[in-house]
Amino acid sequence: MMSCPNLNSLIVQHLFKNGRFHSVWKSGRPVVTNNRHSFSSEAKEIVIPKYIPRGPTDILEALASTVKRDPTGPHYKFHDDPYLIPASNHAKRTYALAQEAGRKAASWIKQEHADLFNQRNAEPFIEAFSPVEKLTESTPMTEDLLKKYIRTSQVANAIHVYGKLDSSEIRSATKQSFLEFISFYNEEDQLSEELIEERWFRSGVKGMRDQVKSTWKSNGLAERIFSGLDTKTPEAYHALICGMVKHGQAVGAWEHYNQMLADGFQPDLMTYNSILKISGIIREDGEYIISLIDDILTSMAHAGIKPDVRSLNAALQSISRMPITRVAREKASRLMSDFKSIGVKPSLGTYTSLLKIFCRDKGPRSNILIDIVRRIENEMPPIQDVEDVTFFSEAMKNCNYHLDDVQLAKRLHSLLSSSQNQVFIGDSYKESVYYRSFLLLLSRAEGPEAFMEMYRHLVPHIYTPEQNVFENVIKSISSSSAIQYVPELWSDARYFELSERDSVLEALLEALTCGSGPDPTIVIDKNDVDPVLATARAIMSHVNQVIKTAEEKDRTISLRWTGSMLGNLMKLFLQYGDLDSADEVMIKVNQLKNQLSSYFPLATLNIFIEKCIERQNSATALMAIDYAAEMGYENVTTMAQRISEQLKLDEKQQQKLSSILSNAPAPSEAS
């Protein structure tokens, strides 16, 4: 095949031929030696700009930075079809993982039936689409194979190959590399890099990682390799210590560290960082922790090893375990200044540790977050440490619980919203913590209109509130008597699949009664229903429906009518003059009498009876009396008397009334 001459070289040749510019191609400074002035009268200087090497994805990243998140639509991973857009947290998780499961299924088919995919039409050939070569008994076990598995992070295969290879065949460098590999991963097989969704949702299953518990495999492969080494090189020590610290085995790491020092080896930067990290675990008292950290830092200084930002983060993590706040704060501030003096810039992980140190739950209040946010607004540090991704959720929690500062929270949110900072959100659990704190803070601090604006912006496509957050939202709306938003919240509850939780329904019904009744100035068309009234009716029919289907299918559910729910419904219906629905409620109350878990309020009952008297509806009035008598309300007799006076009762009803009265407990004191 003819290889085309490089375009660059052509141009360079042309330039040299011309003889005008004796300039090096890649420099920005032309040296114009104009021996011939024949071409132009003025010697125009042409500045060739410096060549900027572009990576393969730079153009795409530039384009991506122009696209902002659109809160009115679902996330890109979901199909943009109204029927297929998820709203509840459960649905979002299911849809996203289902999509990835489809990809997994496709790659399984490709793997399983590799003989069907023989054609290689793509040029250049795409390795990612070719079946992975399985490790079988017949595969030749070579060192190169081991190296390949180390490079592609396939732990199980690498261990297998190592087991098959004779120990003497492997060069020491490869052995060292393998030791580091095993220590890093602790012999656990990793999720494939392609499974992004699973990784995104993974920590929600594990919850908060308990760092105190050690997951290091004692006497595992790494330790065996280490002990099998003839000469324990310092690198081997480093690898083992770093691995142990990463997986929580602090004691073992400390022992090996002392062993290494006894053997006369010099620790390197990574080892020092690891020991700094566990200083808080191997020493209990604050003073000892500080002295250990100081020792390590001074030995680093003596050895001439410059600490980096990870050393700072590790030291601060240890300090955050100190019991006394004042001492911890002081030491932390000093360390920050120390590291600044050697030119180490903090990363977001540093700021997270600072927050943990300065703003403890039971400690004094500290507004260090204001300074931190100011610094980040000036210059956002790049991602350098694993701890960096915990910053935003911690900071927002701080704003909410510790500082109670809405302005700061908004600044923080605008920082996160810029597209290059999206990487710092971490995973789905941290994202939910972040938005949960944000929403709770807003519901407390802002008025209903401003809050609902922000709510509509975030919910449901960026974040769906969990049950208790949603209840808080409803409560804040009801406490500010902003009843016009309650129908929207009800439809949201249905949308988020929260409408079958009794606490949510209780809160909603409570919120419905916070208003002042229908607006008399608005002329309502006969067919139009006031949204609040419509909501109440909808809730009633919905709950009835849910209970009915559960009973039919013989399922047990926790949703039950309670007295307070029915009381609120009744109150609302009476407020809006919907007496038919009020009658329905009364019938329900009568039906369920003793099964209701909370009391139907007496005041509402009285109003209802009044209305019944107005309408001369004796049946429902009797039901009300019946209920009151059963529940043992005090003024049953007075109510009954009123009814007998005001309403026309026929024979049966009279009998019933008298029987109720006779059965009623005697009123001890007249009300």
């Binding site: 095949m1 003819m2 290889s3 085309c4 572009r54 393969p56 994805t57 730079d58 795409l60 990243e61 991506a64 696209v67 996330h75 890109y76 996203a96 040029e123 250049p124 050939f125 795409i126 990612a128 180390i150 992070s153 580091e180 590999f181 890093f184 392609e194 992004i196 995104w200 690198e235 480093h238 390197d268 930067l269 100081d294 200084a301 001439g304 090893i305 410059k306 002081e330 501030s333 000093r334 360390l335 200044s337 120390d338 003096s341 050697i342 903090p346 700021y351 300065f358 507004n367 260090i368 204001i370 300074d371 931190i372 350098q384 440490d385 991704v389 700061l408 999206q422 990487v423 971490g426």
Partner: protein, 353 residues
């Protein structure tokens, strides 16, 4: 001691001065309600005496003390109203920043409305007109000065004043509550924000002589690579738009890289010069006879191969070798048919004579 009449006169003057100061203070704070206050001031003058006489008995002591306090805040009123108290109170120290010059009539520090009010007030007290006006203006200016100072600078307590204040408050038996300042918004200068770099360095690294980067870079190369990989994985999220998805695919190698280079994937081939593809004759040299049908055939093969852009050099060599082996295997037939000369040579693999 002074007589009762003198006492009453003294008290009258004191209360008047208190009222005047009050009016001045009110005018400074609420300029919008200036006109109404001014009217009030002129009307009240007549009723003042009657009111004051009634109130005097109850509020004598308190007023006296308050007046003392007010006088402590201004030099001017001490001059205007000859000394009723014997206390030599400390006067506040001004910090004069770049303030505009005080002119006789117009001062830039107080509004024109206030100036008008001053004029009106001075007209009512027609006797001491000019002096009063001057005093009032000066008093207003001093009050604005003070408020500027108090606003811009942190409060530096004057010991003498606090001692006086304390004694005053003690005598009045008022509940002394420590003024609890609730932390207001962060834009006010008074709030102290914890600084990230609040403390001084403890000097651990003061004498440290750090080696160059290359010496201190960790020798755990694999570990470092894996750590970077983990960081990258932490930072990847499900792609939020089509461009990010394409970035992901590009990194996985599933999609062409920008800027499109149609020699992508053929980097190895780029190293191989075209002469190796075209000039294949050297591969024929060791074994092929120089003349004859075999040579002719092989030359056709080489011409074809040299024009073939789809094979690598190794593949072409492989083809030629195959032919070589083939001819070698069929040697006997070739000799029989006379394709190659029948000369038994010492080196069997070579077909040439």
């Amino acid at each position: 001691m002074a007589t009762a009449l003198q006492n009453t006169r003294m008290l009258l003057r004191r209360t008047l001065s208190v009222k005047k100061n009050e009016i001045l203070a009110r005018n400074i704070c609420f300029t919008s309600t200036l006109k109404s206050k001014k009217d009030e001031g002129t009307l009240k003058k007549d009723d003042e005496a009657k009111e004051v006489a009634a109130k005097n008995a109850k509020q004598k002591e308190a007023k006296a003390k308050l007046n003392m306090l007010l006088e402590a805040m201004s030099k001017e009123s001490q001059k205007a109203f000859p000394a009723e108290s014997e206390l030599a109170l400390a006067t506040p120290k001004f910090v004069k920043k770049n303030k505009p010059l005080k002119t006789k009539l117009i001062s830039t520090k107080i509004d024109s409305e206030m100036l008008q009010a001053v004029e009106n007030v001075s007209k009512t007290f027609s006797k001491e007109n000019e002096e009063l006006k001057k005093n009032l203006i000066a008093k207003l200016e001093s009050i604005t000065d003070e408020s500027e100072v108090a606003r811009l600078e942190p409060f530096k307590p004057d010991k003498q004043k606090t001692a006086d204040l304390n004694s005053l408050l003690n005598t009045l038996k008022v509940d002394v509550k420590k003024p609890k300042k609730k932390a207001p918004e962060s834009h006010l200068a008074a709030v102290k924000i914890d600084n990230v770099y609040g403390a001084d360095p403890s000097g651990i690294f003061r004498n440290a002589n750090f080696k160059e980067e290359s010496g201190t870079v960790s020798k755990l190369t694999t570990w470092e690579i894996l750590y970077q990989k983990e960081l990258e994985l932490l930072a990847t999220q499900p792609p939020s738009n089509g461009f990010q998805q394409m970035i992901l695919w590009t990194k996985q190698g599933k999609v062409w890289q920008f800027p499109i280079d149609n020699e992508q994937g053929l980097e190895e081939e780029a190293q191989v010069g075209f002469h190796e593809h075209v000039f294949l004759e050297p591969y024929l040299k060791p074994w092929c006879p120089r003349r004859g049908p075999v040579r002719h055939f092989m030359e056709l093969i080489t011409v074809g191969l040299s024009k073939n852009p789809y094979l690598t050099v190794a593949q072409k060599k492989e083809h030629i070798n195959w032919f070589r082996n083939f001819f070698d295997a069929q040697r006997s037939i070739l000799i029989e048919t006379g394709a190659i000369p029948d000369v038994p040579s010492k080196s069997p693999p070579s077909l040439s004579a």
